[in-house]
């Protein structure tokens, strides 16, 4: 008994800190924050079709994804990906908040009908700071989630 418990404990001790610290990635569906405009478009053309553009923000309809119906993408002044938002398919495979990241490490806000989990992540030794925000009406499954770089302004931002 002690022989069985000890290796398991050691394994847990090694894995647990990594599991607990699991951070949401700075990308959605292969669309990574900081990716160039051309790279992003190459990926977007693989997974969907362009739908519309407003103030430099583009909406793409996903053609084959079972979970997500749309991706919205915005670029910064260097034409690198500033944010990506994915909207779930209403009749698709549901996506839980936990699939985005460890919700124990997220700031939770809102309440019934309006849940929100927010992760503030510092990656690459602090060179990339970004927010990951998952929102939904339901307690378990999200309606949309977004990754957004901090400290950059949008392509069309026009501070008054």
């Amino acid at each position: 008994m002690r022989r069985a418990v000890l290796p398991a404990f050691l394994l847990f001790s090694i894995i647990a800190p990594f599991a607990a610290a699991r951070q949401p990635a700075p990308q959605i569906l292969g669309l990574r924050l900081g990716m160039s405009y051309d790279q992003a478009h190459s990926r977007l053309n693989e997974i969907g079709q362009f739908k519309s553009e407003d103030e430099g923000q583009q909406v793409w309809t996903l053609t084959r994804d079972r979970r997500y119906q749309y991706v919205i993408i915005g670029f910064d002044r260097d034409r690198q990906v500033r944010y990506v938002t994915a909207l779930v398919r209403p009749d698709g495979k549901p996506v839980s908040y936990a699939e985005v990241g460890d919700i124990a490490h997220a700031a939770r806000s809102g309440g019934p009908g309006n849940f929100r989990y927010t992760w503030k992540v510092s990656d690459k030794g602090g060179r990339l700071e970004y927010l990951v925000i998952a929102k939904g009406k339901g307690q378990r499954y999200l309606d949309r989630y977004a990754v957004k770089r901090l400290g950059v302004e949008s392509e069309t931002e026009d501070r008054d």
């Binding site: 739908k51 519309s52 407003d54 103030e55 923000q57 909406v59 749309y70 919205i72 915005g74 944010y83 938002t85 909207l87 806000s109 809102g110 309440g111 009908g113 309006n114 929100r116 927010t118 925000i133 929102k135 309606d143 949309r144 977004a146 957004k148 949008s154 069309t156 931002e157 026009d158 501070r159 008054d160």
Partner: protein, 625 residues
């Protein structure tokens, strides 16, 4: 045996319940037979003179608009079926009118195509004094079949039942606005105040009679001295404690009825904000905006909470309880809303304590539905929240919340086309929505909805009298349901007057125009409110960072409001203020490009001088300059 037992049980149950059942049946018959229109329906044919009459229920009541009435209690229904095909009605209209005796009673008339869930295609909602309402419907446009006439007790005392008439007849003569057009005077802020005033907001405090305006850093209190005529203006700087620190998107909102003014400056995902109940003498610093609201182009608005009437509480207790949860939490009686664009969507947060704190923001729409940037919040007297949007697919759109900002519907403004200026809405006292917008071709349009944006009618180009071909910054305010004013900057010059001016510089003289309706949007007076003094020469660029220097001086919007007596005020940024610039604007032979413009940002207010205001109850006191 078992049948006997069962029969006995039924009899026992009947004996136990029958007082309640009898009461329910009595109520049923009372409401459906006594309180219904008599007869309840008719059929009309495509023949001039085909007609029907009915008698109203005679019930008394008072309610704000169609969304707050309960049939059989303070409104009733009459249906009309038109036979034949629409083509059969060429040269004919369906004229519907109601009349009553006591001119201090106020009935309103709404006509739906189909049943009560169908679009409101015509309405007549004049206020007292009145003894009737009337509409004319063109069946070649709206079709044949079922029409439902909904008669609402806006404010009706007992003993004055209405009678209704529906007739197939020839159409009334189409006439332009008649009467006297309003006139206006301009008041420029004194030197040193309002010198950097792009995208101004304006509000009127009904309690104090003062005007509050805000642009960039300056919050200004303006008092008009009416002991002299023309009135003189006193401008005072009344900055909030935290709203002159940083300015990204400045916003001011005054709740005219409560007198509270909220000032906000965008700051990250919220705003630096404070509010004042004494026109800027003292402020209370607030939370700023909704928790985790968006990051750009915020707006603040407010008005009554949407709460059930006593009749609605009886009729639909559960939805009413859900609404009540989002009602006021403090003595402050009205709702305050904060909305902003976020990453991929736009969100709104409710404050239930007068703007001191806000809830977690709720999504209004995503970029799949509409563009991220939106116009300013307006709230109807029955608590319906509206946010206009310049681009929702192939049309402009109106975002509507019927539950104090919990959920939202996106209604397309049918007949409109997207443009780069944010549209604006004004809400009449009984809920009529006036949607002012710049059409895709640059012309100033305004269209009307009587069913919370589900359908639209009377879409008109109000720039026709001045041949306006380029327009920016549409701003609308309404007073009575039938009265509204629409302010915009326009120029008759063709070409890309709002672009980045990359080719031959755009040559145009911009003025401020105000169009006003006194008949629910059927006709409009359009007036040049800045005659002989251009607001801008050359392009007014709305293309953000691609704009050349000096062409984004006016930034993104102007504003309009109405005071307690119905007098209209607008706030605008004047980009052409020197004698040389003004002279060029008045010389048709001169050059009118951005190179001739001052690029100034001077706070200026237009004040209505004469004419009818937006409140009929004040018509007896003529406006003085």
């Amino acid at each position: 045996m078992s049948n006997t037992i069962a029969g006995g049980a039924v009899r026992v149950l009947w004996l136990k319940l029958h007082p309640g059942i009898i009461l329910a049946l009595a109520v049923f018959f009372f409401t459906t037979l006594v309180f219904a229109a008599t007869p309840s329906s008719s059929t009309l044919n495509p023949v001039n003179g085909s007609s029907a009459t009915w008698a109203g229920s005679g019930i008394a009541g008072a309610t704000t608009d169609e969304t707050t009435c309960v049939d059989g209690t303070d409104c009733d229904v009459y249906t009309i079926t038109l036979t034949g095909s629409p083509a059969n009605y060429k040269g004919l209209v369906l004229a519907i009118s109601i009349s009553h005796q006591n001119k201090l009673n106020d009935y309103d008339l709404y006509v739906h195509k189909g049943d009560l869930t169908g679009p409101v295609i015509a309405s007549s909602t004049a206020g007292i004094p009145e003894t009737g309402e009337a509409v004319a419907i063109d069946p070649t446009v709206s079709g044949t079949g079922l029409y439902t006439v909904h008669v609402v007790d806006s404010n009706v005392l007992p003993g004055d039942p209405y009678s209704g008439v529906a007739t197939i007849t020839t159409p009334p003569a189409d006439s332009p606005a008649h009467g006297t057009a309003p006139t206006y005077a301009n008041y420029q802020s004194p030197p040193g105040l309002g010198d950097s005033s792009g995208e101004p907001s304006i509000g009127a405090n009904f309690n104090s009679g003062r005007i509050m305006t805000q642009a960039v850093f300056d919050t200004l209190q303006v008092t008009f001295n009416t002991n002299t005529s023309p009135a003189t203006a006193t401008w005072l700087l009344k900055d909030g404690p935290n709203t002159d620190i940083i300015t990204l998107d400045p916003i001011l909102f005054t709740d005219s009825l409560t007198g509270r003014t909220v000032v906000a400056q965008l700051f990250g995902t919220t705003s630096l904000s404070s509010f004042t109940d004494n026109d800027g003498e003292t402020y209370t610093v607030s939370q700023g905006g909704g928790i985790a609201s968006g990051v750009d182009h915020e707006t603040v608005g407010g008005g009554p909470f949407r709460l059930c009437t006593a009749d609605q509480l009886v009729a639909t207790p559960l939805p009413c309880a859900q609404l009540a949860v989002r009602g006021p939490l403090t003595q402050y009686p009205h709702a305050v809303y904060y909305a902003s664009q976020d990453i991929g969507d736009a969100e709104m947060a409710l404050s239930q304590d007068g703007g001191l704190t806000y809830e977690e923001a709720h999504p209004m729409y995503t970029l799949v539905d509409c563009g991220g940037l939106h116009g300013h919040i307006k709230v109807s007297s029955s608590g319906i929240v509206y946010v206009p949007n310049k681009s929702c697919g192939s049309t402009q759109g109106l975002i509507v919340s019927m539950d104090n900002g919990l959920t939202f519907a996106v209604e397309p403004v049918t007949g409109s086309t997207p443009n780069s200026s944010d549209p604006s809405v004004g809400i009449g006292s009984k809920g009529r929505v006036y949607f002012g917008y710049v059409a895709g071709d640059g012309h100033p349009h305004i269209t009307v909805s009587d069913d919370q944006g589900r359908s639209w009618h009377n879409d008109l180009d109000v720039g026709v009298p001045f041949s306006i071909r380029n327009t920016v910054f549409p701003e609308v305010v309404a007073g009575d349901n039938d009265r509204a004013s629409f302010f915009f900057l326009g120029t008759p010059s063709a070409g890309d007057g709002t672009g980045a001016d990359t080719g031959i510089p755009f040559n145009g003289v911009w003025h401020g125009y105000i169009a006003t309706t006194y008949n629910g949007g059927r006709t409009w007076f359009t007036v040049d409110a800045t005659p002989n003094d251009a607001v801008q020469l050359g392009v007014i660029c709305t293309q953000g960072t691609t704009c050349p220097n000096g062409t984004r001086n006016l930034l993104d919007f102007n504003d309009i409001t109405v005071d307690k007596v119905g007098r209209v005020f607008t706030a605008y940024t004047d980009g052409c203020i020197t004698a040389a610039c003004i002279a060029k604007g008045n010389d048709p032979a001169a050059s009118h490009t951005r190179l001739d413009n001052d690029g100034a940002t001077k706070a200026t207010i237009i004040r209505q001088s004469t004419g009818l205001g937006l409140f009929k109850s004040q018509d007896g006191t003529r406006l003085q300059p």
